[in-house]
């Protein structure tokens, strides 16, 4: 089964592939655009007693189009001493990691791009590909600020990769599967103390894991308070300093698309993903789920994504940033031990019940 079965037609393989690629692009760009408009343009402005863009389209809704047009017009500058190939490849590497991430996210009982058995493992693995792109960008720019930014990013992203992995381990233990689809199933078909009215979203049982995961996501996205690698007031945007025009746009899209994708993943892992509690309709297994969930599921996902992205952005607009050594201290001395204790308790409880 795959997404094509929704259309109740048999598509040739190439058409299915095309559909997946297009779907992937939509799944990456649509959340990115929504997050940028709703949160970056509007919510940030409202939090600062202003209105944000108002001129392009009604309430500035076409501002995104205008911005993209502006970036496309700009001159694409490569610094003279830059390592040209790596400099040009870096933004693409960052963007590609986002596309790879979205591949395993399930949007409905049949609406997924790949149903990968080790989905969580894969997700954590490709999530760190962006680090590579950032280091490439920082090094190839031949700029001291970029180099500092790239090195900071490398240190930070590697430090926060570990708490993220450890936070997810709790979920994996509880669900008993690394398949994201199975994790969704386990949450929605589960029950809390015999009551299945809400299913069993892991937000409640894995609250510590959720907190650690969201903090790690914040750090992976290099959003404030973890935006030391970008640090526009000291490193002048760090690894992005030398980028302009389309390449900067690529970084920008990647940043917010990744924010969207990580929100999707967090909602799959902790908020029950696309599902509604199965007990409402008497579904027993994944195969029982009605086909209309393929349409409603993505909408539920988007709603949950917006909620999580709101929290990410809210924190971003409110907090000043940590210093580099404080970041590391926080990751290694607080988040890692906390998530290890969380794993321990989850394992004990899993065995006990």
């Amino acid at each position: 089964m795959n997404a094509a079965s929704l259309l109740a037609v048999d598509l040739p393989y190439w058409a299915q592939s095309l559909l997946r690629v297009l779907g992937g692009i939509v799944a990456v760009l649509l959340p990115a655009g929504t997050i940028v408009y709703v949160f970056l343009f509007k919510m940030m402005s409202f939090m600062q007693s202003r209105l944000g863009p108002m001129e392009a389209g009604p309430f500035g809704s076409l501002q995104l189009v205008a911005e993209v047009g502006k970036w496309l017009q700009k001159e694409d500058i490569t610094p003279e001493r830059a390592d040209r190939f790596i400099f040009k490849a870096a933004p693409l590497v960052v963007l590609v990691s986002t596309f790879l991430l979205v591949a395993v996210v399930p949007f409905g009982p049949d609406a997924w791009f790949t149903d990968f058995e080790a989905g969580v493992f894969y997700m954590l693995a490709v999530g760190s590909v962006s680090v590579l792109g950032i280091i490439m960008a920082g090094w190839a720019s031949a700029n001291k600020y970029s180099l500092l930014g790239g090195l900071r990013a490398a240190g930070q992203l590697i430090a926060y990769e570990l708490p993220m992995v450890l936070a997810v381990v709790g979920v994996i233990i509880q669900a008993g599967s690394m398949n994201l689809q199975q994790i969704v199933f386990a949450q929605n078909a589960g029950s809390m103390f015999g009551w299945d009215g809400l299913g069993n979203p892991y937000l409640l049982t894995q609250f510590v894991g959720f907190l650690v995961f969201m903090i790690a996501v914040q750090a992976e996205l290099t959003q404030a308070p973890f935006d030391m690698p970008i640090a526009e007031s000291e490193l002048v945007s760090g690894y992005m300093t030398e980028y302009s025009g389309f390449r900067f746009l690529t970084f920008f899209i990647a940043e917010f698309a990744t924010a969207g994708v990580f929100s999707l993943i967090a909602s799959v892992l902790f908020l029950g993903g696309w599902g509604i509690p199965f007990a409402w309709f008497g579904w027993e297994t994944l195969n029982d789920v009605d086909d209309w969930m393929n349409v409603v599921g993505p909408l539920i996902m988007v709603a949950k994504m917006m909620l999580l992205a709101f929290i990410i952005m809210w924190v971003r607009f409110s907090y000043p940033r940590f210093r580099e050594d404080q970041l590391q201290k926080f990751a290694w001395k607080v988040l890692v031990p906390v998530s290890l204790i969380n794993i321990m308790f989850t394992a004990i409880l899993k065995v006990a019940f």
Binding site: M47, Q48, S49, D227, A231, P320
Partner: protein, 393 residues
């Protein structure tokens, strides 16, 4: 004196530390340090200050500020301008609190001429002086967040500073450069409704101070970035000639508004000089926050007690200042600002020495930046609070 001895000790320690880290760079790790050139075009220097920092990894081994990129030669310009023209020039020194720049110059000229402004003019001068302090420091409070990645405070600062600028514009005609002070008094009286409006705005500003305190100063991340960073002990602060909030944050109870008897209205109202014993970045910011709040209270009290009467003493239409020399300094938003005016009896000053606070305040940068991390350069510079116009004049 013990303080001098300890200063020398500290200097030696700093020197030894720098030598050691240099040696470590070159011998132990067989790497060369990196020289990072912060500025002259850099978002953290809000202007064109350049800081040359020699780094070991992210640690600063040695740093030096290099200023003069915006030098406009005010001291020389004053020599070829008449007294009214100088007033409009000196507005531009510290452009965020420009009315406060006029006052010491006018007071110096008045001192030479042996006249004193009528009480009502003194009151209004003090009110506008404190308003410009609020306009200046409230922007600092917002900018503080931006230097550390919190973008919201600066918009709140601009929002509420707008009210103060509107007040200043309503009274003087100029938002940024009032040019309202005249030798012997003020250009004009206050417009009707100014008092009530100012009271309402002061309430808003106190609310703004609370918001900033909740949003920024109470934030644990902010505190961990600021506390214990860039500590300037009392004796070092005095040695480097710091003034204003930077000095008071080091525990020196020194405020020219209280300590001098100028023909201004500060001595007529109740207020408190805030000091902080720590001398770190947090202390400097905290003192400024409290001072903004205190300034709103000063303005409120002054509004209650404005005497009536003229705002202009009797002065000749064409002002010629008699021969002599005079030095007057006031406690400006950035620190002590003073003018040493030498007159030969002409239409304009023969020579003016301008002592602006920021120039002396950044002289401590090489001392205080030694051994800190690159991100701390920014917070320390932000907390020292300089304005480029005030450094380069």
């Amino acid at each position: 004196m013990t303080s001098t001895e300890s200063l020398i000790d500290r200097r030696q320690m700093a020197y030894i530390a720098a030598q050691a880290s240099d040696a470590r760079l070159n011998v132990e790790l067989e790497t060369e340090g990196m020289t990072l050139n912060i500025g002259p075009q850099h978002p953290a220097t809000h202007g064109t200050l350049r800081i040359i920092a020699r780094l070991d990894g992210e640690q600063v081994v040695w740093a030096e500020p290099s200023c003069g990129y915006m030098h406009r030669g005010y001291e020389k310009l004053t020599e070829v301008r008449t007294y009214p023209q100088v007033t409009t020039l000196v507005n531009r020194i510290d452009w965020l609190g420009s009315f406060a720049n006029e006052v010491p110059f006018i007071l110096a000229a008045e001192k030479l001429m042996g006249i004193e402004a009528p009480p009502r003019a003194q009151w209004i001068r003090t009110i506008l002086f404190e308003l410009s302090r609020i306009a200046n420091v409230s922007l600092f409070l917002g900018d503080l967040g931006v230097q550390m990645g919190a973008i919201t405070p600066v918009f709140m600062a601009f929002r509420d500073r707008e009210y103060v600028l509107n007040l200043i514009e309503g009274a003087t005609g100029g938002r940024f450069h009032p040019n309202f002070d005249r030798i012997g008094g003020l250009k004009d009286d206050l417009p009707a409704g100014f008092v009530d409006e100012t009271r309402a705005v002061m309430k808003k500003l106190r609310n703004f101070c609370d918001e900033i305190e909740n949003l920024l100063f109470g934030n644990e991340i902010f505190q961990s970035r600021m506390r214990g960073i860039g500590v300037i002990p009392k004796d070092v602060a005095l040695q480097y000639g710091l003034s204003g909030a930077n000095l008071r944050a080091s525990g020196v109870d020194w405020d020219l508004r209280r300590d001098q008897s100028l023909p201004m209205a500060w001595n007529k109202v109740d207020w408190k000089v805030w000091t902080h014993p720590d001398g770190d970045s947090f202390a400097r910011c905290w003192v400024r926050l409290q001072e903004t709040r205190e300034a709103t209270l000063i303005v409120d009290q002054l509004l209650d007690s404005i005497p009536s009467g003229p705002v202009m003493a009797k002065v000749p239409r064409i002002i010629k200042v008699p021969e002599g020399e005079a030095w007057v300094s006031t406690e400006n938003p950035l620190g002590e600002m003073g003018y040493y005016v030498v007159s030969k009896g002409d239409l304009g000053p023969f020579r003016t020495k301008i002592r602006s606070a920021s120039f002396n305040n950044i002289s401590i940068v090489p001392w205080v930046l030694k051994g800190v991390y690159v991100p701390d350069i920014i917070t320390i510079l932000a907390s020292l609070y300089f304005i480029l116009g005030d450094i380069d004049r």
